[in-house]
């Protein structure tokens, strides 16, 4: 049996001695499009960062195709939250997307024509070609998210971890991202996406990972997107619950 794209074993992560994630055990199957949902502070971003090796776990481990992340960096592409970077930084859209090639280049090597071609294609994919030579400031939230996505595409990875790619984007961008996610899944890539909107979660993802410090459930969407599991995930957050109830009703209606 070949190793899973992502295997998380008994992972506990703490900030300042305070555990944020407890004993997480998951094996993500190849080609799954997974939505990570859970309330604020549930540890969704922390989970991605831990898989990426950006945080040191207090215990447990993560393996990518059977290896530690350090040996599989080129296999995994990461999209941080948009707010993490300074959008006044003096670089162009094209330069930002080109960063997606840096991991493949390694130290000292400069991008070649082939890398530039990959960047052009990635820009084309997200519909940002006409913005290529603009400075990254003055882009809308949706456009910023799209060039982050283009950078990830330029990485040509088999596994992607995306932190809230739908946060603060316009409807056109949301549609474009969904189309890209489905296309990437069709290419048998494995995708782990932090998502905050329950209304669309069941529609966009084929697997859901319900998280609230502990793993509440992980499985195919139709099995885990239930009122009971969502209640367990969100606890006493009443407004979210009624939202979830509505979402479940709609998704059931849709399937009839």
């Amino acid at each position: 049996m070949t190793a899973a794209p992502i295997e998380i074993h008994d992972l506990t992560v703490s900030y300042d001695q305070k555990p944020v994630l407890w004993n997480i055990d998951i094996e993500i199957p190849e080609g799954a499009l997974v939505g990570i949902i859970g309330p604020n502070g549930a540890g969704k971003s922390t989970l991605l960062k831990s898989v990426m090796g950006l945080l040191d776990p207090s215990s447990g481990w993560v393996k990518i195709y059977g290896d530690p992340i350090e040996r599989q960096r080129a296999t995994v592409g990461y999209i941080p939250q948009r707010e993490e970077v300074d959008w006044d930084f003096p670089i162009t859209v094209r330069d930002l997307v080109l960063m997606g090639r840096y991991g493949h280049l390694g130290l000292l090597r400069r991008p070649a024509a082939a890398d530039r071609e990959i960047v052009n294609n990635a820009l084309e994919e997200v519909g940002m070609t006409s913005f290529a030579d603009r400075q990254i400031a003055n882009l809308s939230g949706g456009q910023q998210q799209r060039i982050f996505l283009a950078r990830a595409l330029a990485q040509e990875s088999r596994v992607y971890l995306m932190d809230e790619p739908f946060a603060g984007v316009d409807a056109t961008t949301e549609k474009a991202i969904v189309r890209l996610l489905k296309q990437m899944r069709a290419e048998k890539r494995t995708l782990l996406v932090v998502h905050h909107d329950l209304q669309t979660a069941s529609e966009y993802f084929d697997h859901l990972l319900l998280l609230n410090r502990r793993l509440v459930a992980f499985g195919p969407t139709e099995e885990v997107f239930t009122e009971e599991l969502l209640r367990k995930t969100y606890g006493g957050h009443l407004t979210v619950l009624s939202q979830a109830g509505e979402a479940i009703r709609q998704s059931r209606d849709g399937k009839k």
Binding site: L54, A74, Y78, F89, P90, I91, D95, M99, G103, L107
Partner: protein, 449 residues
């Protein structure tokens, strides 16, 4: 000597014919090298938001200079440089320790370290002077490190400056993509396995190095200015990092040159002393920043003001065009609308309308002639386009934003000046090419293709 004579003397020295070619050339070379290196490295420093940190490092070098002097027993350049290097790195470590192990934040911790190290430096310098004797006698000129003095630059100093410049430029050239990526997006840089921590520390070491070799020219108090002002100037002038680094290096070098020149012409006394050190360089660099702040095409205040004015004039002219169009619709002759009609359509005094109509001159859309607003074909075409955009937008607001017909005019009045051809096409498609607006007025047809 007069200003002109001094200028002639300065340039004569530079080409080796004046009375003090050696010291002038050293001063100019030193200040230019220092400005260039600070400028290039400073670009990364301000983007990494380390300006205050740089200032702290500079002040912290002072006790290093004093201790280096005490240990070596002379003002040997390598000893003083080594001393300040060690002091700078210790100060950096202390700052980090304070923020990591207490709730004290970055700025406060920088302030604490800066003043502590500076105080120790001042105290040690006073102690050396007070102590007198052999050491005290050799110490004369040590306080030049406070404000800097390009006139006392030696060949050894130049060698250190040139080496530092080479190292800094080589590192920037070789690791440009790694350093810029580490600063712009730390998480992503970690995620692709580039050694970000290594590059952050490398930046810190280079910063300390550059500060230390520049101390003698700029002084501990002013050296940070050259790490901040030229890069900030370049930041206002360009949106591309490689250009920013290059431009900032050039600006730093120019400020160094200009500062030495000003000192030579205005401050030099008979013995060649009394030069103002970093002060003139810093003031010149600031003049450059002022110029960019005002006149930078994209990020300057003046440019923004002019764009605003131009937009105001365009809006004013376009409003006249739409008023004219409305009169034309009621049967008036669009090519030449009487000012009186225009004034009553707009609800103003004819004298006011006449003043506005005069401002049509130079637009290519029309002009005031025998008390009529004469519109050229391109003016009439623009009026039609504006009116079409205006009325399509009114329908859009009514249908999509569910506004009442009497609420849509004001919004359309603003947006009409900004609707481009593509948006209008989208509106046409969305609204299914309507022929009348919410007030029952005809929408001027689009261009025939």
């Amino acid at each position: 000597m007069s200003f002109v004579d001094q200028t002639a003397e300065f340039f004569a020295n530079l080409v080796g014919y004046g009375s003090s070619p050696g010291s002038t050339i050293s001063a100019v070379l030193g200040a230019c090298l220092s400005g260039l290196t600070c400028g290039a490295l400073g670009s990364f420093i301000i983007l990494r938001r380390m300006s205050l940190f740089a200032d702290m490092l500079a002040h912290a070098a002072l006790p290093g200079v004093a201790i280096g002097f005490i240990l070596a027993g002379s003002k040997s350049t390598p000893a003083l440089l080594l001393g300040s290097l060690v002091a700078g790195l210790l100060a950096a470590a202390l700052t980090r320790t304070i923020t990591s192990y207490s709730r004290i934040k970055d700025d406060a911790s920088l302030g604490i370290t800066l003043s502590l190290f500076y105080a120790i430096g001042i105290w040690l310098l006073s102690w050396i002077t007070r102590r007198g004797g052999d050491l005290g006698a050799k110490a004369s000129g040590l306080n030049q490190y406070l404000f800097g003095n390009s006139a006392i630059i030696t060949t050894v100093d130049l060698l250190f400056l040139a080496s530092a410049a080479l190292v800094v430029l080589a590192v920037i050239g070789l690791f440009f993509k790694e350093i810029s990526s580490s600063i712009f997006d730390p998480s992503f840089t970690d995620s692709i396995g580039l050694p970000r921590k290594f590059f952050e520390n490398l930046l810190l070491v280079l910063l300390t190095l550059v500060i230390v070799v520049s101390l003698k020219i700029l002084g501990v108090i002013l050296v940070a200015a050259l790490l901040v002002i030229p890069p900030a100037t370049a930041y206002l002038l360009t949106d591309k990092l490689p250009r920013m680094v290059l431009l900032s290096a050039v600006l730093g070098g120019l400020a160094g040159f200009g500062g030495v020149y000003l000192d030579f012409v205005l401050l030099l006394d008979e013995e060649g002393n009394g030069v103002g050190g970093g002060a003139a360089i810093v003031c010149l660099a600031f003049l450059g920043l002022m110029a960019a702040f005002l006149a930078s095409p994209r990020h300057g205040v003046l440019g923004r003001y002019l764009r605003h004015k131009r937009l105001g004039l365009k809006t004013l002219r376009e409003n006249l065009l739409t008023s004219a169009w409305r009169i034309g619709e009621r049967g008036g002759e669009l090519a030449a609308i009487p000012i009186a009609d225009l004034a009553s359509e707009r609800g103003e005094e004819p004298s006011a309308t006449r003043l506005l109509a005069r401002r049509m001159n130079g637009s290519g859309w029309g002009h005031l002639q025998s008390d009529r607003l004469v519109l050229t074909p391109s003016g009439q075409e623009r009026a039609r386009t504006l009116m079409r955009g205006h009325r399509l937008w009114e329908i859009f607001l009514q249908r999509e934003a569910s506004l009442a017909p009497d609420h849509v005019h004001a919004g359309a009045e603003e947006i009409e000046h900004f609707l481009d051809a593509e948006t209008v096409r989208e509106l046409e498609e969305l609204l299914d090419n309507p022929e009348t607006d919410p007030h029952g007025k005809t929408i001027p047809p689009g261009e025939k293709s």
